[in-house]
């Protein structure tokens, strides 16, 4: 089954509207929680008047920060503890200031509007520049200033290397702030019945959430049940510990009734954490062939008003991946995480790695341009060769697994008809009536398969392994329990394919369950492209154990030696004796009959495996984009988008393509459409989907997808992960194409998003 494009088990329910999302779940006596969000970016709270709100019929109460003073703070960087609601002051527009609970959502919304918060304005610092200015005042109280973290990631100093390099150039690159905008926003339903709460939530790591809830409430973990039902997209933004994860259970405990919170789209745009938002100052030294000799990078990250423990250190991952797929001997990297009066930033699809890939891929293009060389040629002289794998990067512990970067690039150039495109580009340049043509390349590598444990612990997880329990039912059908919590990836399908191969049972006879801490053994979760490289291997390992035991029982039933028993169609056969067969169903039933089994056989056919990867995996590939630019309006149209991906073993080509399509769509969105913006007063300017430009299907090109499969030696399946590859590869493929189309005008850079107006201005200013 591995490698076959079976349709997804998930789709029948989801496509007919029969999925179960948090907002679909109803409990008797359900109450609704709504936030009062800050309307100010930076202000002292001088008073909260909730009298009118409390008096509305149907309102059960209004609570402010003081009412939760007894609850230990949210998971935070030690020393930078975050509460649940704004206390004395607000740090950004959208920060929760109070919470209202009412019998229905309409009343709750009315009551939230009736709460009057008095603010005493403080100076607003909505940009990094303002927050670091000499007259800036500290925003987040535990910090003496707005520089939350300054880290030297490598001890290297490359000043001498840069000075010695035959050529050098500098660039400032901007990776703008994006919003996750999953179709389903954040939601929590908590029902504290009995000794502890059951919490349905749109999360990516239910066991971790269970641990954090249990810790806050001083409960043993078995008393807390966390369920992630169908989750309508997450993209990393559902891995942050939003206050509602704890407030809903706490209010359910106090009120003795279930409490539901479901974010509105408008709230999502200001309340759920954003991603990216880096400014990168780069200096690169290179020789006449374009070989990169040294790279010096300073990254400045806008972490928003209340630093998130993941967001504050995310640029570490950016730093690790700065070398891309190139043999760069020396890299010096440092980053600064800066507090501003904006929504906090944290993980968003790729979480730190797309920013690195963008940087190095733009830099390689700049080097090519500076030398008057073709960007493809400059890539070729720098690419790490397959015989250098595994490749130790300049960063300790960051070792790339097997891949063939040059083969990916060659395949891409062939599929693009690169030479043909260059000729067409020249032809159009000579014809003032023809739209400009640009070709952009992105040879990328990213980091997947998160673990292993020593790394993943640093993000607060119990481990970097993943777990699977494979259990044969007495009729030979199979239930797999897996510790991931997918939200669109299709684990029911891909993991069933892996189990089917090991167990020799039909794909249809396998159900994969996940997302419920009362059902699934300890698990880690879904993030960091870890589904196939980590959970896939856990399923494989557990299934292999079960298959081995089934074979032993079959041998007993066939009165043969286990070594002589071979799997056939729907069961086992004694080698060379076609009539001596037994079905798997018979074996499975036998596994529950102690009196018919050899003495000492453990009953049942099941196994739980915890798979710890040797290291991270490194999905890679080469993407190419062909754009056309309207000379009159600056509009960029994507004519072709070609992907070559190497995610190691492809479990299901259909779902793999789905991951690439979605990831590339988000990458194109970042390149051309999306940006979270604030005005000088820190007021969001793109707080609805009318203003925040999520592209639709008609705005996106058809994708041409190709794979090369270089198996990773870091895990037995040879899988590397794929969830974030598209979003990592695409932005610079598009931007490189846009800049390429304008290069004849002397244009070196176009900041993302390359909107028609921005491109038009760049063209206008250049000519």
């Amino acid at each position: 089954m591995i490698g076959s494009a079976v349709p997804r088990k998930e789709d029948a329910a989801l496509l007919t509207g029969r999925g179960t999302f948090v907002d679909d779940i109803h409990r008797p006596g359900l109450l609704h929680m709504v936030y009062v969000h800050s309307t100010e970016a930076h202000a002292l709270i001088s008073g909260i008047d909730a009298e009118e709100a409390r008096s509305l019929p149907g309102v059960l109460g209004v609570w402010t920060a003081r009412d939760f003073a007894g609850l230990p703070p949210r998971p935070s960087v030690p020393g930078l503890e975050r509460g649940y609601l704004a206390g004395d002051k607000v740090h950004y527009v959208g920060e929760p200031v109070a919470v209202v609970v009412a019998a229905d959502r309409y009343t709750a919304a009315d009551a939230a509007r009736a709460v009057r918060v008095a603010y005493e304005p403080l100076p607003v610092m909505a940009t990094v520049a303002d927050a670091l200015a000499p007259d800036a005042v500290p925003i987040f109280a535990p910090l003496p200033g707005n520089l939350a973290l300054e880290q030297q990631v490598t001890p290297d100093d490359v000043t001498a290397d840069l000075e010695a390099a035959p050529n050098r150039l500098r660039a400032r690159l901007v990776n703008q702030r994006c919003a996750g905008t999953p179709i389903e926003p954040y939601g929590v339903l908590a029902d504290w019945a009995g000794a502890g709460p059951t919490v349905w939530a749109t999360v990516q790591a239910p066991h971790r959430v269970r641990a954090e809830i249990a810790e806050r409430f001083g409960l043993a973990r078995h008393l807390v049940r966390v369920i992630a039902p169908d989750v309508g997209g997450a993209f990393g933004v559902k891995s942050s510990f939003m206050p509602e994860l704890f407030l809903a259970p706490e209010l359910s405990r106090r009120l003795g009734r279930p409490v539901k919170y479901v974010e509105t789209r408008g709230e999502h745009m200001v309340h759920t954490y954003h991603g990216r938002d880096q400014v990168q100052d780069v200096e690169v030294g290179f020789d006449a062939e374009g070989r990169v000799l040294a790279l010096d990078v300073t990254i400045t990250v806008n972490v928003g008003g209340v630093p998130d423990p993941v967001g504050i250190g995310l640029a570490t991952l950016t730093s690790y991946m700065l070398g891309g797929c190139y043999r760069i001997p020396k890299i010096a990297a440092r980053f600064r995480s800066v507090v501003t009066n904006t929504t906090p930033t944290a993980s968003y699809r790729g979480a730190g790695r797309p920013e690195a890939s963008f940087l190095i891929e733009r830099v390689v293009d700049l080097v090519a341009r500076e030398l008057g060389k073709d960007p493809a040629d400059v890539r070729k002289v720098n690419l790490i060769q397959p015989d250098e794998m595994p490749y130790q990067t300049p960063f300790e512990g960051i070792v790339y697994d097997e891949a063939d970067y040059p083969a990916a690039l060659d395949l891409l150039l062939g599929e693009l008809d690169y030479a043909g495109l260059r000729a067409e580009q020249a032809r159009r340049l000579a014809d003032p009536a023809a739209p400009l043509l640009g070709v952009g390349l992105s040879t990328f590598v990213e980091m997947g398969g998160f673990g292993p444990t020593p790394l993943f612990e640093q993000f607060g997880y119990l481990g970097g392994w993943e777990s699977a329990n494979v259990r044969l039912q007495p009729d030979g059908s199979v239930i797999v329990l897996v510790g991931t919590a997918p939200h669109g990836q299709g684990h029911q399908t891909a993991l069933a394919q892996i189990a089917a191969d090991q167990l020799n049972v039909p794909f249809e006879a396998i159900s994969v369950l996940y997302g419920d801490t009362a059902v699934v053994q300890e698990g880690t979760g879904t993030m960091g492209s870890r589904g196939m490289p980590v959970a896939g291997n856990a399923v494989r390992q557990a299934a292999a154990e079960v298959a081995a035991k089934a074979r032993t029982i079959a041998a007993h039933m066939l009165e043969a030696d286990a070594d002589d028993v071979v799997p056939i169609g729907d069961g086992f056969q004694v080698n060379g004796a076609p009539e001596a067969t037994v079905t798997l169903a018979a074996v499975a039933e036998r596994a529950f009959k102690p009196h018919l089994l050899p003495e000492g056989t453990v009953l049942g056919l099941e196994n739980t495996a915890y798979f710890e990867p040797k290291n991270l995996s490194y999905p890679s590939g080469a993407h190419g984009c062909v754009v056309e630019i309207d000379r009159d309006t600056g509009r960029v149209s994507i004519l072709r988008y070609v992907c070559v991906d190497d995610c190691g073993t492809v479990i299901n080509p259909l779902t793999a393509r789905g991951q690439i399509h979605g990831g590339v769509a988000q990458g194109i969105a970042q390149a051309l459409y999306e940006k979270v913006t604030f005005d000088g007063d820190g007021r969001p300017l793109a707080a609805s989907l009318e203003d925040y430009m999520v592209p639709g299907p008609l705005d996106l090109p058809p994708y041409e997808t190709h794979h090369i499969e270089t198996k990773s030696s870091f895990n037995p399946l040879g899988a590397k992960g794929l969830g974030e590859a598209g979003a990592t590869a695409a932005p610079q493929a598009v931007v490189n194409a846009v800049v390429d189309a304008l290069a004849h005008l002397g244009v070196r850079d176009v900041e993302m998003p390359c909107t028609p107006e921005r491109v038009w201005k760049v063209m206008h200013d250049a000519s």
């Binding site: 959502r105 309409y106 919304a109 009315d110 509007r113 509105t264 789209r265 408008g266 009159d632 309006t633 509009r635 459409y673 913006t677 300017l685 793109a686 609805s688 009318e690 203003d691 430009m693 592209p695 639709g696 008609l698 705005d699 909107t755 028609p756 107006e757 038009w760 201005k761």
Partner: protein
Amino acid sequence: MIPAAFSYVRAGSVEEALDELSRHGGAARLLAGGHSLLPAMKLRRAEPGVLIDIGRLRELSYVRADGDRIAVGALTSHRTLERDPVVAEQVPLLAAAARRIGDQQVRNRGTIGGSLAHADPAADLAGAVLALDGVLVARGPSGVREIPAREFFTGRCRNALAAAELLTEIRLPAAPGRSYAFEKFSRRALDWAVVGVAAQERPGGGVAVALIGMGPTPVRATAVEEALAAGTPAAEAARLAAQGCEPPDNAVASASYRAHLAEVLVTRAMAAL
């Protein structure tokens, strides 16, 4: 995304709707396709106390040829305008504009009366009706009156209707065989216009040019029209597109880019005529 409380009545006839409007005064709003009003309510930009649903008044959904005029009922959907044979033959500009509105769901629900009454400065149909020299028919407690499209849009999302008036019909001079063009520039394929141009060769001669997204209301590009009438070449006339406009300067587009777009789109519209 959660509207304030409101009460709801469904009007069984135009008279009933008018009665309800008079009864509730300023607190009431008519509900047609709901595709501008309901989003506004969900965002709490509008908090009407009463909704008077006229969505089922089939008698206001029609397209009729009436001599040299085409009469379109206020509740005619965008989708109908897109596909109606009379529209296609007599006022094809209207179909061209309707086709560019939102997505099919929006076009199925949204109505011409709702779009015009909502008076969004970037509404596609407003541009078309303005270029077609349409006349809007309003019914109120004191009877029926006609309002020329040029006088109908009084400000950003403001119109010339009195509180208790209802739009019943849009009358358009038939322009069979006359050339027309509708050029819309939007950030996304299914999106509001940043700037749009509706151009119509008039039955009596000359060209009418209307702009959307170039000010608080849709406007006629009078300078362009006059230049064209005086025989100025189209490309030169197009340079006057933004003359007299006060285009919005916001996150969607700057005023200067809009002015540039107006010129580009007028040029393209002229070339398409």
